[in-house]
Amino acid sequence: MEWFTTFPTMDNERLTALKKAIDEGFRNFTRAYGESFEIAFEPLKIFMIWVERLMTTTPWPIILVGILAIAWLASRSLKIVVGAALALFAIGYFGMWDDTMKTIAMIVVATLTALVIGIPLGVVMSFSKRMRSVVMPILDVMQTMPSFVYLIPVVMLLGIGKVPGLIAVVIYALPPVIRLTDLGIRLVDRDVIEAADAYGSSRWQRLANVQLPLALPTIMAGVNQTIMMALSMVVVASMIGVQGLGQPVLKAIANQYFTLGVFNGFAIVGIAIIFDRVSQEFGRRLQKHREIVHGH
């Protein structure tokens, strides 16, 4: 009756052997291909460094004006622009400007990378049921797997630094934009698609003229979520060498610096709110212009 009280397990020796074999396999893989991966990600690294340098070496008034201008162009809301200005002033005044710029650089690059990968993937998914049945479970795993777990293979493969951190952030932030691109395209009014087909649109014409523009508000919601998820990874990513607001927080945890932690936490909240409001308002403006109101 022993099997009834304790779960029957693989015997210890074999289990250890199995784990060892997998570890060994992956280590061999990283030894063999780690370098090629690094080379493959080199352009991303160059881009990342370029953006970061741009954000940190440009004089603060120019950056401030630039951010506020983007916020205004996207949202056309004075309230949001004033709010953003106040938040950025506070961040700068409390001495967190440089770290904030590094974090913003990381978020921008991570988000752009996620969009470049995610939107085409979402489009392909919306076209094919089979593709969706393959990608959906992968997305579920990506979203529910504790982020620390996939730091391990990333670090083994690429070591510690900007790029591995960025990749971890991208993996974590990718699912919403894929999901919502797919959803947005599938939700496009069938009647409009039918009209596009009836006039002989090719698949590409249908996508460019009808599906993507009409899915845009939904895709924007995905972009918004992706930005938010990337921001929520700031602290975790700082564990593997991403600079920015995450590192002071880590330090605060280790040394119990209450104020340092809270200040940097609020700085993250501040830029999260700016990103969120601006991108949401942008999405809403797209929708307003394009919503379908047949007839009356």
């Binding site: 409009v192 009209a195 009836a198 006039y199 002989g200 009356h296």
Partner: protein
């Protein structure tokens, strides 16, 4: 682009909606009804439709809601694939076209107006009207000129830069119409194309269509619920019921000899005087009979409403139907005309009154 086509032929077209349509075709062919099929979670869209639409004609399709009109019209440009049967345009099987051929066919040979408009909400009226031309790859300047001409013709000049959701339903429908006409395709598929228009604009648009037909004879398939519209536009009328074709013929055929009660109830309200022609109620003149010169004259192809007007103006009880090679072809009486014009079934109360109640003297 406006080259004529020889005609559209449908051959034993069946359409069943559902997860496994092919499995039910044989049973439907053997006589399974729409209701029986519904019990198997499949919907019968079309049942054994065969019809010839001659090139250059306006074919009207009528039928109650859900009778399969939209399904039928979508088979012509293969927006819907038939479960069985063939669709031939100029004897080319539409169903067998490759994707490239089908695209080319849709771009250059057909244009469609949709019941639900199908406008691109993020494009202006002008851009929407140019849609077909853009897809086809017409030069931008030419696109614009053509689109502007049609926008003006459907009465939307001044609204070019508006978005569809800034227009009324009837205006949106006219954008759909302009988009189709700008394509200048030989086949026009019009699914309740005028349903959202007010009566005045509706007649206006019917005139646009009829004018167009005298210039370039397109082959038009026109779905409508409005019998008067059908009669005004249609050389040929087909009536659908539960996905099956119950009658096809000229307007006159359908009004004079409805195939069954369903068709009869359809044509009950029509103004018969305008549909039925003198030739179908006159008595042909035999060799010996010579028509009197004093009688009023009507043409054999005149509607009987006109004949009754001519007779009553002349104070005559009959008229001479004129003329073939200078000879009268028949005689028509007021009595025949009125009998044909009124459908007795529509006024049972008149018959009762005359029979039952003696008329009291007026004091």
């Amino acid at each position: 682009m406006g080259t004529r086509i020889d005609g559209i032929k449908l051959r034993h077209v069946y359409k069943i909606f559902g997860s496994e349509p092919a499995a039910y075709v044989e049973r439907v062919k053997a006589g399974m009804t729409k209701t029986e099929l519904l019990a198997h979670n499949h919907v019968l869209g079309l049942r054994d439709i065969s019809m010839d639409i001659p090139g250059g004609a306006i074919q009207v399709v009528m039928g109650l809601s859900g009778s399969g009109k939209s399904t039928l019209i979508r088979h012509i440009n293969r927006l819907i694939e038939p479960t069985a049967g063939e669709v031939l345009v100029d004897d080319v099987a539409v169903v067998k076209m490759t994707p490239t051929e089908l695209r080319e066919f849709r771009r250059t040979r057909t244009a469609m107006v949709f019941q639900k408009f199908g406008l691109l909400p993020h494009w202006t009226v002008l851009d929407n009207t140019m849609f077909g031309l853009k897809v086809r790859g017409t030069a931008p300047a030419e696109r614009r000129d053509t689109a502007m001409r049609w926008i003006e013709r459907v009465g939307l000049k001044g609204f070019e830069e508006k978005y569809p959701n800034q227009l009324s339903g009837g205006m949106q429908q006219r954008v759909g119409l302009a988009r189709a006409l700008a394509n200048d395709a030989p086949i026009l598929l019009m699914d309740e194309a005028f349903s959202a228009l007010d009566p005045l604009i509706r007649v206006d648009m019917q005139t646009v269509l009829l004018d167009l037909q005298t210039e370039i004879r397109k082959t038009i398939v026109f779905i409508t619920h409005d019998l008067d519209e059908a009669l005004r536009l249609g050389d040929h009328i087909a009536i659908l019921r539960d996905g099956a074709l119950v009658q096809k013929g000229t307007a006159q055929d359908i009004v004079m000899t409805p195939a069954d009660d369903y068709v009869a109830s359809f044509v009950k309200e029509v103004n018969r005087g305008r549909v039925i022609l003198v030739e179908s109620v006159m008595t042909a003149i035999g060799a010996g009979l010579v028509a009197s010169d004093s009688l009023p004259r009507v043409a054999a192809k005149d509607p009987i409403e006109l004949a009754s007007k001519v007779m009553s103006d002349a104070g005559a009880g009959q008229a001479v139907a004129c003329c073939e090679a200078g000879r009268p072809v028949g005689m028509v009486t007021m009595r025949d005309v009125i009998n044909t014009m009124t459908t007795p079934a529509a006024y049972p109360s008149i018959a009762r009154l005359a029979a039952a109640e003696p008329i009291a003297d007026v004091a």
